[in-house]
């Protein structure tokens, strides 16, 4: 049994310790927003946060995540403070920026792109273009949404600082 916290919920999973976190999330916990792209940490489609750090879940044995906090794309949007179960979720500023800039095309890589961006902005609230290059060049997009991703990162950074985009 592996114990971990996924999107704020404690989970106990019957999984072999060397099973990658990606397949635990997708097949055992039904969280399919995190995607399989390459299986060798080359494309970033499987990016999740483990204790706040962006990690490639396709090569991360679930045994190494025992007792840790995992955040996936499904856990990013928040219920508003004081909201009820039926209150609509409020998208994370990064997700909202992705909508506002019409970033997604096929969308398959975007969960990974968004999780990498959230980690970037947590560490660096005002990234330069070079900072964005450094943080996001490990996330592949075959549709070529990079120019829009760049704009969306800047927009999200401004929104998180409370500036009008």
């Amino acid at each position: 049994m592996v114990k971990l916290d996924v999107n704020g919920r404690p989970e106990e999973v019957a999984a072999e310790e060397d099973m990658p976190l990606l397949w635990v999330l997708r097949d055992k916990l039904g969280l399919t927003g995190t995607k399989y792209g390459c299986g060798i940490a080359q494309c970033g489609a499987c990016t999740v946060h483990v204790d706040g750090q962006a990690r490639r879940s396709c090569v991360l044995p679930v045994g190494d995540v025992h007792g840790k906090k995992v955040l996936t794309i499904e856990g990013l949007a928040q219920k508003p403070e004081g909201g009820t179960v039926s209150s609509p979720v409020r998208l994370h500023a990064v997700q909202q920026a992705w909508l506002d800039e019409n970033v997604p095309q096929c969308g398959y890589c975007q969960a990974g792109q968004i999780m990498s961006t959230v980690a970037l902005l947590a560490a660096n609230p005002a990234p330069t273009d070079d900072d964005i290059d450094a943080a996001l060049s490990a996330n592949l997009c075959r549709c070529g949404t990079y120019p829009r991703i760049r704009r969306a990162v800047h927009r999200a950074a401004a929104a998180l600082k409370g500036e009008a985009p």
């Binding site: 390459c38 794309i73 909508l99 096929c106 969308g107 964005i132 060049s137 075959r142």
Partner: protein
Amino acid sequence: MNRRDFLVSSAAGALVVGCAFGPTGGPVWQHHRRTGEFKPSAWIRILPDSTIVIVIDRVEMGQGTTTSSAMMVCEELEVDPKVVKVEAASSSRAYDNPDPQLGIQITGGSTSTASSWKPLREAGAVAREMLRRGAADVWKVPLAQCVAREGAVHHGASGRSLRYGELVDAAARQDVPKVTLKKPGEWKVIGKSIDRLDAAPKVDGSGVYGIDMKLPGMRQAVVVRPPVRGAAIATLDVAAAKARRGVVDVFAIPEGIAVVAEGYWEARTAAELVKVTWHDGAGGAIDTAKLIASAEKLLDGKGDKAHAHGDAYAAVKRGTRVEARYRLPHLAHAPMEPMNATAQIRNGRCDVWAPTQAPGIAQFRVAEALGMDLQDVAIHTTMLGGGFGRRLYQDFCVEAARIAARVGPVKVTWSREDDQANDWYRPMAMSSCVGSVEGGQIVGWLHRLTCESVLAATGGDFVGPRLPNGAPRALRRMFADSPPRMFARDTILDPTSIEGTDPPYAIPNFRVEYLPLDTGVRVGSWRSVGNSHTGFVVESFFDELCVAAKLDPYEARRKLLAKAPRHLGVLELAAHKAGWGAPLPPGVGRGIAMVASFKSFCAQVIEASVEGNRVKVHRVVAAVDCGRVVNPGLVAAQVESSIIYGLSACLKQQITFAKGRVQETNFNSFRSLRMFETPVIETHIVPSTESPTGIGEPGLPPVAPALCNAIFAATGKRIRTLPIEQALGGPA
């Protein structure tokens, strides 16, 4: 209850059955009787609660058809696209692509907006007119006083309004009318950059791609595939794989060895325990270096005439002669979502859920594989994680159906390695070009081209499903078998092999010859198909002739395009926006290229520099003319996408074979452009009143030649072999 009372009560939401009067024998009324919905055509369903569902028949693989298709319907339906629900079409002949070259349910060839332009607007208009007529009946007022606007019909004089949902019954009673489409000046939706309608589930993880499918009792499978396509099993021992925890079954299928387990990881790790040896067969002899050598030799001989005017053979003996050979490699499509499909067979019916570009072909191929009739196979299109042409070919659906026939509901997921090694590759293409310039003019152009035929490999897919659903299976198979034979024997010159070799430039002596190439490599349509390689050759060689004739490559193109106004339009716009002729920083070169494809026009100016074997692409300025634009934002997105996809290919990508084995097995060796390498991209649209034409692909062909022309301008080095980084001595 009199007629008026009935209509009012049903308009208020009551589902009334058994009241059959009015022109109510048709399918629209029958559907209404059965479901309570108003469904005037295959694309629109209006529910009594005023929910408006638009069925999207051209699949969404990122190119924006969800949004553009809905916009075309909504324009005439008088509804804000933001309030409708969109739904992917399942398999039905109603959704056959009306493009005369297709005629089956398929999304490709940059046809979606062009071929839907009339039918989708008409569908919207028909629905709107039936709703208006329904309202006129309810209110007993002249039709002319009933105005459709924002999802409701309004009667100005009395101030009354009925929402569409309140009119489902009255509308369903109407005859299907002939309609007049709105004039461009009346458009409220078409031409606006409205936000994508498919974005929300792509940012919150809720979207269901093929790989995310789940059915009750579903197992998961992977396939151990031969290292060489077409290899046969020599020895097989599945005992260890079967003994692995979670494994359900392991057995041979035509595609390899199916490993079925409770989950993907159990299946994938069990696959490593399968002990199998293979007889490579003929495929084991495929070796890229040998293929290149034999194609080189082929180009020394004359080929079949593809295009000709004047006397090119005589002309290239005059003036200054320029000779060049170009080579483009096999390429994989590598969409982000690996191939996968989920299948279930129950009560003589097969259902397949898959990210496919061609439900019509999937239905045909699955029915054929299982020995079923077409109408007993249903294909349900999920979200697609990219396509680029790969998902036109339905091997992933067929094998899922085969495995499901043995183990019940199952999802089959390919690894990235499976995907790379079992693609339908962009053909390898080689060209020999001879030209001559005299007196500052291009006087002769002789182009010999060899590449594999896409239609020889895949033509049957497009022909078999065209027969009506009840056609005998043997006839369908005969149909499907004919194009591969014709194209393979070169009885017919494959138009996709030579498309783009006939540029619009007025060159007095011009000849193109094609030499068929049979390598044994399985090829297919790759974004922009033949134009992806012919565009590179034609626009590079034109540049070489300009250099020899001491002509400015932009001005030289302009001069030869006097009778081609749309080509000229994009060329001039791109050059103008890029500041053609303005000084550049030292080391930076500027290149231009223009290719018309899929009935659209695209010119690009690229600024680039070279350091060692690294190319820095600074800026790409694109101008496109794709007729009327439904959504300029989507057009820009597709041009950006095509440019980045094209840059990945021309800078970095190739598929090579050694002893029949694909060498580029994952994203570390089949590399793509990343954020830090992505240039500034500007897209400019030429305003047009022509009917819409393609935009998913036309942005791609000019990329490679514009970049190589820029590299020449920057360094004096001419790149004639792709990928560029390898040609410059970089990593293979």
